[in-house]
C-alpha cells in the first residue's frame, strides 16, 4: 500500500476525552464520538477486515452498556459491525444502471473484466452488538415493553453516535448509527443500519437493546426490513408527501418496508 501523502498520519485519535458516560443502578453507559479515521488507521482496518472501509468511517466511536458488578457488556463499534459484512461478493448488489453501463462498455473493453476486490459494498450488516462476559443472551418470547418506553420519563442521558456512512458513490446511502436514551428506571439503545440503493433496494436493520435497571433484565430485538425501491416508490406516489424526503428518512420508511427477519433474546444480570 502506498498512500504517499505528504500529510502526517496520526496513528490514533487522541485519548478518551471524547467519552461521555453515565452510571445508573449498576449499569454504566458510555459513548465516544471522534472524527473519521485518518489514512493510517484506515489502512490498519482495511488489513484487519480484508475489505475497504466505508468512506466515512468513525472507527474510534463507541456505544457501550456495561453491568459493572458482573462485568457483562454489550458494545457497538464500526469494526465489529463491518466484520459482519459479506466479504466474498456473493451477495453483491449492482447499481441501477449497471446493466446499461456493462453493455455499452463491453463492445470496447472486453478485456477489462476483473472486478476489483468484490465484496458487499453496500456495507449491509446484521450486527447485533458485541457481548463480553456471562451469561449469554438466550432466545425469548418476551418483547420489549413499548408502553414503558412511550412514557415521557425524563431523559437523563442521550447520545447519537455515528459508526459509519457511505454514499455508495452517489448511488444512495448506507449508514450505521447508535442512539441511546437513559431514563430513571430503564434504557433503550437503537443501533440502526439504513441503506438505500437508488432505484434498487431499501434496507433497515434495527437492533434494540432494552435494560430494566431494577430487575437486571436485558432484552435484545433484531428486526430486518427490506423492500425493492420501485415498490416503495409506487406506494409513496399515492401519497401527497415529499417522496424524496421520505426516502431519506428511515423513521418514515419503516411502514413501507416489510419485516424479513426478526429475533428476540434476553439475559438477566444479577
Amino acid at each position: 500500500m502506498s498512500s504517499l501523502n505528504g500529510a502526517p498520519l496520526d496513528t490514533h485519535a487522541p485519548g478518551h476525552d471524547a467519552d461521555n458516560s453515565v452510571t445508573r443502578d449498576g449499569f454504566r453507559i458510555t459513548t465516544r464520538k471522534l472524527p473519521i479515521l485518518k489514512a493510517g488507521p484506515i489502512e490498519e482496518m482495511n488489513q484487519k477486515l480484508g475489505i475497504a472501509p466505508p468512506e466515512m468511517i468513525f472507527g474510534d466511536n463507541l456505544a457501550r452498556i456495561e453491568h459493572t458488578s458482573s462485568g457483562w457488556s454489550i458494545s457497538f463499534t464500526a469494526l465489529d459491525a463491518l466484520d459482519r459484512v459479506d466479504k466474498t461478493g456473493d451477495s453483491m448488489l449492482k447499481v441501477s444502471y449497471s446493466k446499461e453501463w456493462q453493455q455499452n462498455r463491453q463492445k470496447q473493453f472486453e478485456d477489462i473484466k476483473e472486478v476489483v476486490k468484490p465484496f458487499d459494498w453496500s456495507y449491509s450488516t446484521d450486527f447485533k452488538g458485541t457481548t463480553a462476559g456471562t451469561p449469554d443472551f438466550q432466545p425469548t418470547e418476551t418483547p420489549i415493553p413499548l408502553a414503558l418506553l412511550k412514557r415521557p420519563d425524563p431523559i437523563l442521558f442521550f447520545d447519537d453516535v455515528m459508526l459509519y456512512e457511505d454514499e455508495l458513490a452517489d448511488n444512495g446511502i448506507a449508514m450505521l448509527s447508535c442512539k441511546i436514551r437513559v431514563m430513571p428506571a430503564r434504557l433503550l439503545l437503537l443501533s440502526r443500519f439504513f441503506m438505500r440503493l437508488d432505484d434498487v433496494v431499501f434496507r433497515i436493520r434495527d437492533t434494540r437493546v432494552f435494560v430494566e435497571f431494577a430487575t437486571g433484565e436485558v432484552i435484545r430485538e433484531y428486526c430486518a426490513r427490506e423492500e425493492k425501491y420501485e415498490v416503495v416508490r409506487k406506494a409513496l406516489a399515492g401519497t401527497k408527501e415529499d417522496v424524496l424526503a421520505i426516502m431519506r428518512d428511515p423513521n418514515r420508511l419503516t411502514d413501507y418496508l416489510p419485516v424479513v427477519e426478526k429475533s428476540l433474546a434476553k439475559v438477566v444480570l444479577k
Partner: protein, 456 residues
Amino acid sequence: MSIGGSDLDKAIQQLRSCRPIPENQVRELCYKARELLIEEGNVVGVDAPVTICGDIHGQFHDLMELFRVGGDVPDTNYLFMGDFVDRGFYSLESFLLLLCLKVRYPDRITLIRGNHESRQITTVYGFYDECLRKYGSANVWRYCCEVFDYLALGALVTGAATSLSPTDGPLAENTNLDALPSQDEEIEIETLNAAGEIMYRYARNSDSQSSNTSQPNSNPASSSPVQTPSRVGAAGTGATSSANGSSRNDTGAVLCVHGGLSPLIDTIDKIRLLDRKQEVPHEGAMCDLLWSDPDEIDGWGLSPRGAGFLFGADIVKCFNHKNDLSLIARAHQLVMEGFKEMFESTIVTVWSAPNYCYRCGNVAAILELGEDGSNAGYVRRSNGDQGGGGGGWVLGSNVGPNGQATNSNRRLSSVLGESLQQRSRDGPGRRYRVFEAAPQDSRGMPAKKPVADYFL
C-alpha cells in the same frame, strides 16, 4: 435588469454574506456565465501560478475560510475541480458566488465540472431541494443546471515551477527544525497550516515518496507532525535523474479533472474532442472523467458496484508520460488529511470541504502551484500532440501502437517499457495549505449536541 459592472460587484458582496440574490439576477448571471463558458474548450488552459481546490459541497462558510487561507479572488488565481453543490446547506450561495467571480474575473478563476453538477444527482442530494426552499420554484435550479452543461471537463496547468520558493513563515508548533531540509535544497513539497505556519517540508531528492509512504505506519513512536524522510545517498544519486541544479523548466503540465482517467481517453486531445454540452451521461468517456477513482491495482478494473472504472499506477504513469504531464490533480474522494498523493506522486486527490457534511472532522486542503520564474519567454506546449500521432490506439484495447497484441493488464508498461519511469518528469513544487472548518459561530449551524428524543 442587467448584471454587469457594479451590479455584479453588488451581487458578489451580497453572496459573500451568504444571502441569495434575486431570481432575475440569477437568470442574468447564468446567461452571462454560459456565454463565457461556451468559449472555453473541454480542457481549459491555465497558467501557473494557480491554487487548485477540490470538492466544496455547499459548505459556504468553509469556502470563505478557503479564500481566507488561500487569498482572495482576484489576488489569487483559483481552479476549482467541481462538486460545488449538494450535501451542504449552502450550495446555492457557494455556486452562485463562484459563478459571479467567474463572470467578474474570467481569467482569474477556472471552474470545471464535477459529478454533482448534474440534474440527476442534484435532485437526490440536496441542491434541487435547496433551490426550491429558497425560491419557491425550480427555476433557479434549472438555470444552474444549464450552466453545469457548459462547464469544462478538465484544465491543463502549464508553467508551474519545479521547486517552491521557500516561505519564511514561522514553524508550526511541534515542527522539528532539524527535520526540515536545509536552505539550499530544492523544496518539492511544503505543507502549511491555516495560519501559514510550516508543518513540514520535503526536499526534491529526499526520496520522500517511498520512505514517506511506509514511515508513518511503521513508526508510530513518532507523534510529531513532521515526518521528514532520510535522504538516500548524495544528491543526484536518488531516484530522479535530474541534477540538483537551481532552476529547471522541465516540469510537465498538470491535468486537473474531477474524477480521473477513462479507458477511452489516452490523450488529452481526445478529451478535447468530446461533446460536453449535455447532462453527464451514465457511461462513456465524459462519465469516466467525472466518476472514476485511482486504486492500488494493475491496469484497469471494474468497480464492485457494477459501474465505473478504477485505474492503477501503471495507467497513470503511462498517461502522464504520453501526454507530457508531471501530475494529475483530481478531487472526488474524501481524504481525512485534505490531500493524498498516490503512485509516486503522479496523481493527487485534493479535498476542500473540511468537516465534510458537518460531521466527519476531516481537514481540507488546497494545492498551490508556483510560477516558474526562470521561464519568462516560455511558450506553452501544445500538450496532447506528443505521442498521439501514430496509430491513435485506444488504451484498453489489446493492440498496442505497433500492432502487437499485448498482455492484458500489464500491456501499457510493457509496450512503453520500464525506461519511461526513469524519464518521467519531475512534479511541480507543491504547496498544500491545510485548513479546518470555519468556526461554528460564523454560520447558522444547528447545535452539535444531539437533541434528545423519545425514539423507539
